[in-house]
Each structure stands twice: as structure tokens, then as C-alpha cells.
Subunit: 339 residues, 4 copies
């Protein structure tokens, strides 16, 4: 059986949340619920053509709309929420990317402040071939066109933060949020430590694909139809967001400077190997040092995000996070079989 | 005349705010109001002796209590709030400092994550001689005792942040907050850009004195009796907190890594010289480069804070921020004369 | 034809170089020469068992020995040296890894200075099964054993630096050096900008395998038998080391903080797409943003190293670096056929 | 008595050194020698008017010429060289400052790499009134003129580095070098750990004055007539450059990111309080935290430099560095009395 199913499709701008924390829940669900959701792109759908400059069409702070939050029954601080991505599918046959003045890795920004003029503001519209699963890049200043594989993901997934805070949906931190990692794709389970009653989970910021680091600050942004299953692990803390695929476990860290994001993710992975796989601390440090993959997520958001990724086949025989991923994978199969 | 006077002295733990944004105002005041306030120390008064370890007596997230917030009539986004410090006086004849596990500049932290054991947790109680204005350091592990000058200041001063956020009172950012600069002393005016209606100003975290950078993460923490005057500049934005004394103008920046905090403060100072003193941009850059003092504020909080300080006597004849500081200085004199 | 062949196998400690720049050439070669080399491990072969602690057996600064330097005839500043890795094979059936006091990503260091005690110093000896191409991890504090794939690489590859400098072989920078990227494997061509007459190329620091970021600061270190072909591109500058495989072009950046290493590599990749593939600057920025892979190399050395990696199949039909990689690949095949 | 006196005044470009390490000594001196030196400005004297753009008149790498190096008899690794600044006087009645493309704190650089255009290249000529000890700023783009106090200093002071390295004179690190701190003024003693026999001390890069952080990357640069006394402490290591004035002891740290420079300097100060003043480690940490001044030196060079400064009067009765500063102060008085 595949659990209760809730469908939620926001339509008006007022249906979205713009923060993690501080927004009232849109629905209450029990652990094990399948959520059929739609999400708008980070521009709230306002960049539709090459003339739609972000600085003109987007009304700050109404950027990066989140679908949710959902109140998960029984979730309390000290628990961990599991969010399994059953499917992530672009809702439209196009997506948009842009430069944004004083935002991105190869420009001065409001934090890496400077006296130089901002880069020009440019919009690229990418055509999506959803059948062949391709995204088409078209040069704005030349003739070059190329198809890149579609690899849909959610840039923003999170829960309400700790410490009574409400954080903009543009920010990644220990509560998740705008981590912008291409690893957040269908088939993956995301673990998020619960900070407030009900967890208050939401997601958004779909990308048809994204490079590692999100160099210009904006991915191939598109609205998504997404199915997730939410589940709960009681009395199991999770200090930083973790991901699990069929082949890998992954820790994330979000901080500045980037080496701190790296340190957080690598330390969390070492701790995970201690907790769930019984490795002594220094042995885990050694094994991680030789086996880890460290793909960057974003180097542009208010915190940068680094991922530490380890092959399960190289670990002692044990289930990560009490086998949650395998169970959700099964539930997803059951759900997909009946759809 | 010295304006209306409002006295506000919180007594119970529930009287304080723990965030900037997200807390309801405790009072509504008109611009020009004199606020007679009392503030608790960052430990909410719970560290009273060398046996009171932070990890045992402080109940997170109820740390760094703020007195306020105050709703300032007429304050709207795009305005600037001016907060003039008339006086800052320790309420008790002792103050406390501590190490806190995984917090401070000379230890690994939750962000600069590592595998080493935390440093030992230690409390120092400093005796304050308020008459002679001295703070007495007493060695915990040896016999050395020395008196350092008292130089009372507020570590935390701010308004509600932009972008619908609520930030922990431990965080400094563009809204002010936990900047921890020794420059925030009596006689100084602090300028804060308004992000929400009413500004929602609060302050706390009194320090009898503090080194530049707040190396161990904790200053000579004490409860304060503080008098400020709040005033308002309409239609004048202030992107980052600024300070003004009789002799200096000062910009602040709060970010990580520390060079970004430096860049923000230095750029804001250059912009200030352009705006209020008519200097061309590159000339302002050159003059700042040769004349600036750059005392660090904190290198321990979630964002680090850097100050860029420039002597008014080296600037063209013009008043910073429309002469607000001089007017508030006069109002403070009038108030003090009648007290 | 496969070019002249030079065999160079240092035997005594005095045969190695310990810096890039400042060491006299061991041989003079013409462009196109095949170099059959042997390299010692980063410990100069002194860590042979779990009792051989680095702090006791290694004599600083005689660490990370380099084989070379080689003077390449005709190489002048403004040219680019191409180093094609024909083969990299472990010379012994074991390799060593260690923790080193105050070195590594999850400990305070001499730069990220702190008051905590150093982590314990531990040695792991990895058995190498060269036939099955496996490296065996054995727990020092528990019972776990696991085989990881062998993936031999050189941590250190470089030329004499610019600006009259001599840099320790532990340092990566614009001249190459200790970049510690797993991408430096057989089949890859490394491009290095020439800074002094003769280029003065050397290499060392073989790793049987390494995780991305080299978390504990030390890889699976082993002596290597390595064959490279060195060639020369006249009047073609290369500001940062680049790599090319049959499938990808890769730029590197080495700096601190890590985001600067990222920025350097990403910008160099954008410039490379402009130079060799004719993409307009902002189009290149966009395409890189959506297509780049960004595997970390090291987050432990005096500079951190980030790699920006792009699939050739997504680029306009053109040869990177004037087709040098394809030519060297052919020469390597010819050489291997006759060996 | 004031010791032997050596006068050394380089005249031709070939008389200068451009690195620390790797340059042959220009003279051999005994400890206690008074050195009467002249130094050229960082532009090697080639920027003489507002038309002399650095990118056109300076021939890299021949920038930041150093006077020296001097071989100090008896200096060996593990010793500390003491350099007392008797006097630092501008040699000319003008000085120059500039912007330099892709250099400075408020612009992208070769490390903080980006796609924006470089800032305009501008030269400011400052008139020096050596009698009244004033530097006159003249606006290049407006009419403003102002006199700032002259406060002559050396940006670059150092010895040959460890690890067989030679470092460009633009780099500050553990060997000293281009620290660019305004604290390096007459009356101060600088302590430098010796890394090679003879120490190989040199200095240059005089500034008529400089702001803290050297924001635009260039100070008020001028040729200097400088007198120093060099002395030697045997068997006393000094891991990072230290300074001592009549009132303060100061530690320095040079690294990136800036917080690491801060950490190094603060930790060295803590260690200094342990070594010379007998304070227990955590007590020293606490006392430094409340008493330190932390003026930035530079936030523009290949490493950033932070200073940690502590008042001697707040320390236990003991002499820093075995009383070297007091002895050199006396010797300087004796020398000045006879001049």
C-alpha cells in the first residue's frame, strides 16, 4: 500500500510561502502521506521571455515561492523528517535562466562588495523536450545551440528553522532551504531534523538541470509537478540535511566561507559512519578521506552548500537511518504502480 | 526640550524578545522619545558564579534577551532610525565571562567543524568598580589580578530585518543585531535602515568592556541601565548600520568570511562620503584607503562584524545624515540637565 | 612514432627536488620527449608501518619529493607546457595514509589556529592489489576491512612559478604544484603556463586513490612508476593549470578561501570557452552555470584547489588547446604499442 | 654606545631585492649594528605624476624593491631577529598612490575572480610637508583638498622564509614580508623568527601614511631614509612576526581568509602571554578577549594581515622578549644623541 495521498496545487501568489518558519501550514498530514504538489519557478513565473528582466518583473521579497508548509502530525524537535522524491517533472515546455545584478559567483555582490559596475542583465529561455528529456541552450549573443540532458531537481527543500527564526526561502542552512544541489532528484530521500512541532515542511525552486555550484546564481528554472512521500523518524536528531539514494549516502553543509560548508558536510558524514555503520571515529575519518565525492551544490546563495557523498557498497552491512530509504522506495513503487 | 520619556524595565523572562522580527512590540513611541531602559546580560542573568556553566544554566534558545521591540510611529521601509546612546551604565557591581563549548575564535565551532574535543568550559566573574570605572580580571588558574577600564557598550542593537525574516538575537546582519562592536558606547548615534512599519527596535547584550573581535566569543557581560533617544529620518535609506560620534563617522559590515564584512563596511563608508560629503567615488576610495581606521567588532558570531571609521575633521564641511547626531546630542544634554 | 624516451629514476634523497623553482634541472629534454619516471611517496618513503608517525620519521622540509625538474628546450614565458599522462602505476604493493598534527580539514591548523589539542597521530597501511586494481582499507580501531578501486593519480605536478619565487612542493598555485586532484590520472593532459625559460617541470606525490577534498590531508600515498610525454605550445599563455581528458576539459583554481579557488576555476573555464570555442562571454557564463561539474580537489593544502569540468560533447565543434590532447593521445598509443 | 653603523643606499635598479629568500646578501653585519638605509617606493620610483599608470610604467615582477638582504652574523634557524626602527623619514616631498587593475579590496581580483570590467586606473600625487608632518590629498575628480597627519611606516619587513622558499616581496607570511601594518613605525621593535643562516633581513615599501586595511591596495607610497638596529636573540623561536612599542606588544598573522589571519595573531598573543608573562592558557585567552585591540593591516595582499595589540600596563610585571625592546630603545637614543 502506498499511504494516504494529498494533492496541493497553489494557484494565486498568496498561496505560496516565502520563508521557512513564520508561515502558517497549508495542510496537516500524517507520516507516510504521499504529497502530489505543484511548484512555481523561483521568479514566481514572471520571467517568460528574454525581455523580462528580474530587476523589473520580480517584486522582492516575493521571490522563490515555496509550496507548503505542511504540518506533519507527531513531528517534534529531536525527530527527523524523511522526504522521499517519487517524481519531479517540469510543468511547462520551457524554463528560464538569467543573470541578476550583483548576484552570482563571478561578480561582486552585496556581501563581496565592490565599486565595479554590475554585469549586464540577460535572460535565457531554455526549451524543454520533456519526451526526450533534453534542455536546449540557445546563445543570446551568438548562434550556438546545444541540448543538455534534463535532470530535474528541487533547489529548495526544508523545514522551519530552530531558534525562533524565520528564514527567507533564498537561504540554505541547517534547516535545509535553498541548498541548490543537483543531488535532490527523483529517487532520493532527504532527511531534515525537526525544529518545531509539525516540522513545517515546504519545497520549491525546481530546476530542469543545474551545474555544480550554480555559477551564475540561477539554474534552468521551471515550474514542477512533484510527488513526495513524507515520513517521520521519532527521537532521531539530524543536525544537517542528509540525502540517500539507492547507491549513496550524502551529507550537506551550508555556510560561508565555502571551506566551512565543506567541513560541516564532511564531519557529518564521519559522524554518520560512526552512528549507523559502527566505524570508530578516526577510521571513519580515514575512510571518508579516501572514498568521498564532494560535488559542490551552490557557491552563490547567502550560505554556500557542499555535499559529501559516499558509496553504500563500501560501508559495513547496515542500513542508514534505520532503513527508511528502502521502505520509502517501496512505497513509491507501490504508489507509481497504481497511478 | 528633551522629548517625551518612556521608561521600560522588563522583569520576567517572558518580557524579553529573542529575535529581531517576529516579536510583538512592547510599546509604541513617537520619534524623539527618550527611552529609559534596563537590559539583562546575554545569559539572561543565569551565570552568577564560577560554577554556573553556560551549557548547564542557559536554556537555548533563550539566550541574549532583548529589551523591546519598540514600534516607532511613522517609521516605514526606506526610512532610517537614529538611536542615540545617552548613557549606558552597569546595573550590578559584577559581570561574567565564559568559554562556551564550540564557540569562539580559537576553537572549532559548529560551522568551522572538526573532530577535536571542545575546550574546557570556564567562568570568570569580573568585579566592577562603577565609581572608579574599572573592571577587575581575576585569574581562574593562577594568581593574577588586573583592573581594566570600564567602557560600557551594547553588543546587540537592531530593528526587524527585511525579507519577512526573524533572526535570532545572536546574529548580526544588515538589520544590526549582535554586532558586538565596542564603538556602540554612550555619546554615539546608531543609524539603522527601517525594513518594516514601526521599525521594531530593540537592544540588549551589555558589555562592561570588550576586546576588538571578542576573541573567546563572550565579553564582560552585564545587565545595563541605558538611556537612548530614538528619532527618525524619513525617505533616507541606510543599507548597513552606521554610527556617528562627535569625532568620527563609522560604517559596519557583518558577513562571513571576514573580508566580506570588511568590504561591506569600507564600501558603505565610500558611499557615505559620496552621499553626504560630495566626494567623487574614486576620490572617496583613495581618501578612505589612507585615512580609515578598521577596528574589528566580532570574529565569533554567525556573521563577523568589521567597522570602518573615519575622522570628521578630514571631511568636507557638511553634516553626516542631515545633522541628526548634533541634534540628538543637544537633546541628550537637555535631558541629562533635567535628570 | 613516439618521440625520444628519457628514463629517470632518482634513488638517493638528494636526487629529489622539494620546491618548484629554485632547484636546478636534472635533465634537458626536447618537446615531444617521453619521460619514464619513478616518484617516491610524499613521506619520502619513511612511513612504512603503523609505528612510523610523520612527526617522528619525516625530516621537514624534506617532504613531498619531486622527480625533476626537467628543462624543456625552447620553453619560454608566455608558452604552455603540455604534460600527457601515459601511465601511472604503483611501485609497491602497499601505500600509507596518516593523520598529521594540525593538518587536515577537520582539525585546527597552523592557519585556522586554535587552542584545542591536536588530533591523535595515526598511520593506516593500505594493501594494494595491483592485479585486481584494488586498495584495501583496514580499520585501526575496529575490525572493518573493505576494498576500494585503485585510481592512481599524481597529487603534485607543476613548473617553476612566476615572480622569481620558489614554492614548497606542498603548495598549489598558478604554477600547478600540490593540487591534489583525482582528475590527474592516466589518459589526461595537463597544461601549465610557462614562467621561466625551460619551464622546469617536475612531479611527485602519487596516490593510489584519493577522495575529493583529501579530507584528512593525506591520500593513499605511494611511490609510482609513471610515464608522461611533455610537449610545448609556443606563444599560448595558460594562466591556471588546465586538464583535458578524452571526454572533458577542466580548469583548476588554487586559493583561499575555497570560494576563490572555485571562482578562479569557473572563470578560467568561461575564458576557455571564449578562446577555443568562440562562445560570447555571457553565453559561456550561462552554459557553464548549467553544465559544469565542480569536484573539489583539496581543502587542506596551503591553497585549496577546485576543479571546473565540462563535457566536450556539449561544446561547439573545435579543438581545445589546438588539438594537443588528441596528438599526445596518439603518441602515447604509439609508445605503448612498442613497449 | 650605539654599536657599529652601516650605511647602505642602493642606487640602480639592480641593487634591490624582489624576493625574501633567493637573493644574495648585500652586506654582512653583526648583531647590534645600526643600519642607515634608503628605500625606494613600491613602484621602484616610476610613478611620478598622474600620467604614470602602474600598468604602463612598472615592469613586473620588478615591483616593491627591497633594500637588503643583510646577513646577520650568528643568526640560525630557531633564533629571533629583532629589528628596531630608529627613524623612518620620507626622502622626497611627494608620494604616490594609485588604483591598480584587479587589485584592492573593493574590486574583483585575480583570486576573487570575476567577469566585471576592472576599475579605472588613477594616480594621486600626495604632497608631503615634512616640516609640519602632513600629507596633502588632492581630489582627482573634484576640488577637495585636505591634510592628513604624516605617519611614516614600512609596509614590507622580513627575513628569508622557511621550507627552501623564495617569496615575492608582495607577499606577507610567517617570515614577515608585505604585512602593510601602520604599526611598523619609528620607535617600534619588530621580531622575526630566523629560518636560514644569517636571517637575510630586508625592508622596503615605505608609506607616508596608510589606512587600516589599505583598502584600495596602495598606500601613500614614498621613498624613505630609514635607520634600524638589528639584534639577535639566540635559541628563541618566534613563529609569527611580533612588534613591541613602549606601550604595547603586538602579534601579527597573515593568511586568507581574513579570519585565519585574525586567529593566528590572537593565538600568538595568547601564547606570548603564557611564555613571557606566565599566564595560564585559558586565563590568557580571557584577558586577551577583553583587552585586545585588533587593527587590520592589509586586506588586499596575497595574504591578509591582522594585528593583535595589548597594553603592557595590563600585564604582569615582566619583560617581553627578554627586554630586547628597552635595550634597543636605549641604543637608539645613544645613536640619535651622536648623530
Amino acid at each position: 500500500m502506498s499511504g494516504p495521498v494529498l494533492t496541493y496545487r497553489p494557484t494565486a501568489i498568496g498561496d505560496y510561502a516565502w520563508t521557512f518558519g513564520g508561515a502558517p501550514p497549508v495542510a496537516r498530514v500524517v507520516p507516510g502521506t504521499v504529497l502530489e504538489l505543484s511548484t512555481e519557478d523561483c521568479f514566481a513565473g514572471r520571467v517568460r521571455g528574454t525581455g523580462d528582466l528580474v530587476s523589473q518583473v520580480v517584486e522582492f521579497p516575493f521571490v522563490n515561492p515555496q509550496t507548503g508548509p505542511f504540518y506533519v502530525d507527531g513531528a517534534e524537535p529531536g525527530d527527523t523528517l524523511a522526504v522521499h522524491f517519487v517524481s519531479i517533472e517540469p510543468s511547462r515546455d520551457w524554463a528560464a535562466s538569467t543573470t541578476v545584478p550583483l548576484f552570482g559567483a563571478l561578480t561582486s555582490t552585496h556581501a563581496t562588495a565592490g565599486l565595479q559596475d554590475a554585469l549586464p542583465e540577460v535572460v535565457w529561455i531554455w526549451q524543454l523536450d520533456r519526451q526526450r528529456r533534453l534542455c536546449r541552450f540557445e546563445s543570446r549573443f551568438g548562434q550556438y545551440t546545444v541540448d543538455l540532458p534534463m535532470d530535474p531537481m528541487h533547489g529548495t527543500v526544508g523545514v522551519a528553522p530552530a531558534n525562533l527564526e524565520a528564514r527567507s526561502s533564498l537561504v540554505p542552512d541547517a534547516h535545509g532551504g535553498n541548498m541548490d544541489t543537483p543531488e535532490m532528484r527523483a529517487g532520493v530521500t532527504c532527511y531534515l531534523g525537526v525544529n518545531v512541532d509539525g516540522a513545517l515542511f515546504s519545497l520549491g525552486d525546481g530546476h530542469a538541470r543545474q551545474g555544480e555550484g550554480e555559477t551564475c546564481g540561477v539554474a534552468v528554472e521551471c515550474a514542477m509537478d512533484t510527488v513526495v512521500i513524507v515520513d517521520l523518524m521519532k527521537n532521531r536528531p539530524c543536525p544537517w540535511p542528509r540525502l540517500e539514494s539507492d547507491t549513496h549516502i550524502m551529507s550537506t553543509g551550508s555556510a560561508r566561507p565555502l571551506e566551512d560548508a565543506f567541513r560541516i558536510a564532511q564531519l557529518d558524514l564521519v559522524r554518520w559512519l560512526e552512528e549507523d555503520f559502527g566505524l570508530p571515529s578516526l577510521d571513519a575519518y580515514q575512510l571518508v578521506s579516501q572514498g568521498v565525492e564532494s560535488p559542490l551544490a551552490n557557491v552563490v546563495d547567502p550560505n554556500y552548500t557542499s555535499v559529501a557523498k559516499f558509496r553504500k557498497q563500501w560501508l559495513p552491512a547496515a542500513a542508514a537511518m534505520d532503513g527508511m530509504h528502502a521502505r520509502l522506495r517501496e512505497q513509491a513503487s507501490a504508489y507509481l504502480a497504481t497511478r
